[in-house]
């Protein structure tokens, strides 16, 4: 497998009137061709900021720095706006959370699809339209040539999200970031869109970062999971390890919040994590989760909590990592077939 995206020690700071908010702190991951990495966490944990930092689409008040930020071997840290614009759309695409507002209300769907490819490739209008029709059919939109003439406000949320996906695919990117692509949609549409994303990813062998707070979505879609909390990755592992044997108290807490068929007994009360996510403004030290953790000890506040790697691809950020030395074998785990 080839590495599409390599991120090491990514930091994003938001410069707010109240102080500097460390939205993303030392995040490292990579994504292979054909692989789905899921970034999971509560609102405000920095998962969207991570994605926007990769695309260099951060809001004005934010700055990013990283040790390594490479896409298909090309360094993105030193890339200027022009070089980034070339990569965006053609190399990596992004699908956003809000299909209702993510399209320009003033132009037809066709216009917006066509401009996505004509920006990057010299192509006649006719060829570009044919490509758009082809992709609209690919994302399951029927009567697509008449759809091209419609405006965003004439379409439902599900249709718009399909169009956003088609738009992302226009130039045949090798990598897609989907930022909560189904959050704004109702449940039946959610399932369709997810299935669509997955089949398209398989067909074009694309790398996919799926950002979500919905563990059900993660279970259906992801190959690997990175759980984020307060701007940091607190646990990574493949999908089976994360669901079957969560190590970090935060991941464990998340798993207790959802019903798992076969495991959760009827009438059993679901868990919840007390407290709220602290705002990472100013100097931070110790474990960010210690105030909400039922296992916290005095030493949790001591120093910066390092990410302890158990074996390649499996790591977590907790003091208990120092106690558990023996690596768990991933092969013995059975993935819960519940979603």
């Amino acid at each position: 497998m080839t590495t599409l995206l390599e991120v090491q020690e990514l930091n994003v700071d938001l410069h707010l009137p109240a102080g500097t908010l460390h939205a993303v702190r030392g995040v490292s991951f990579n994504v292979q061709k054909g692989e789905t990495l899921s970034l999971v966490g509560e609102s405000g944990c920095g998962k969207s900021m991570t994605a926007l930092a990769v695309m260099d689409l951060l809001p004005r008040a934010a700055t990013r720095n990283a040790k390594i930020l490479k896409f298909e071997g090309q360094d993105l840290i030193s890339a200027d706006e022009n070089a980034m614009a070339t990569i965006r759309g053609s190399g990596m695409a992004m699908i956003f959370q809000e299909p209702m507002t993510s399209l320009d209300p003033c132009y037809t769907v066709g216009n917006q699809l066509v401009e996505a490819i004509r920006e990057h490739q010299s192509m006649t209008l006719k060829e570009a339209r044919e490509r758009a029709v082809f992709l609209l059919e690919k994302v399951g939109i029927t009567g697509s040539s008449s759809r091209l003439k419609q405006y965003p406000h004439q379409l439902s949320g599900g249709l718009r999200q399909r169009i956003m996906i088609a738009m992302g695919l226009m130039c045949g990117p090798s990598f897609i970031i989907a930022d909560e692509p189904t959050t704004a949609l109702d449940v039946t549409i959610q399932a369709q869109i997810l299935a669509l994303l997955k089949s398209i990813q398989k067909e074009f062998n694309m790398g996919l970062i799926l950002i979500t707070h919905d563990l059900g979505v993660v279970a259906r879609m992801a190959d690997r999971v990175a759980v984020m909390y307060c701007g940091q990755i607190v646990e990574t592992g493949n999908i089976r390890e994360i669901f079957e044997n969560p190590l970090h108290p935060y991941t464990k807490g998340l798993m207790e919040c959802i019903p798992i068929p076969g495991k959760t007994k009827p009438g059993q009360e679901l868990g919840s994590i007390p407290g709220i996510v602290p705002t990472p403004i100013g100097d931070l030290w110790g474990c960010s989760f210690r105030n909400r953790c039922n296992l916290s000890e005095p030493r949790c506040a001591d120093k910066d909590m390092p990410l302890t790697e158990l074996w390649p691809g499996r790591a977590y950020r907790c003091v208990t990592a120092f106690n558990k030395v023996e690596p768990l074998s991933g092969e013995e785990l059975v993935c819960p077939k519940m979603y």
């Binding site: 689409l57 965006r88 399209l103 209300p105 003033c106 132009y107 401009e115 406000h153 130039c171």
Partner: protein
Amino acid sequence: MLIYTLKRLGLAVLVTVSVSFVSFMLIRVSGDPAIALAGEGASQEEIEFVRVQYGFDRPLIVQYIEWAGRALHGDLGESPYLNQPVAGMLKERMGVTMTLGVSALTFAMVLSIPLGVLAAIRPNTWIDRIALAISVMGQAMPSFWFGLIMIIFFGVHLRWLPISGSDTWKHFLMPTVALGYYATPAIMRLVRSGMLEVLASDHIRTARAKGLRWPKILFKHALRNAIIPVVAVAAVQLGFMLGGSIVIESVFALNGLGNLAWVSIARSDLPVVQAIVLMLAIIYVFLTFVSDLINAFLDPRIRNV
């Protein structure tokens, strides 16, 4: 789009008729026209004679219908003071006022839209501050004072420009700047805030995620969305300039509609005042109609309303 246009057109006609009716009534009840016409020191018989001769003794509604019927044929009556047809007087003045209004609005747009866009792309930088300073000055300076300052500087000191009259395009330069500058702050701030809002919106992020270059993002996607409220305001501003340029017209001794309105009100020249009010109403309604059409062209969501 056709249905929308017809609907708007129907509405425009209705508004014009209502305004003409209300203004006719208001002018008639604001004073007895017979007394004004008969002049100072006229006897009761003379006043009654005038009243009957001009038909002021008939019911108001009859008078209105008669006046409106003739107005539809382009006959706006005669000024009893100048013994001239009102339509001819208006035609003469309209040219000057229109030239001034349109050029002032053009000046205001050419100044304010680029400045507003620049200020929005680089908020809180020196260019934003300069744009703010320009707009605060425009807001704070009375236009007659600005006009006088220009007359003193460009007309009297430098002798570059003529200071009064309306014979050549040079005569219109200073009035255009004075009147147009007054409309600049509102438009500029509207463009700036509109652009800031649009630039922070989701669909601009989508456009960037597609890899579009900045010029295309700015001019195709951002400006079109940001300009929609500006169109409506600009139409109202132009209406205001056409009707309310009395001050500038008197500073630069331009023989425009504003000037005529002011003189006619002072001497209770009812047919003229009546015709000017009707004229301005039609202009306002027409501008609103045009701005509605432009906005419907810019924003497809409006077309379906």
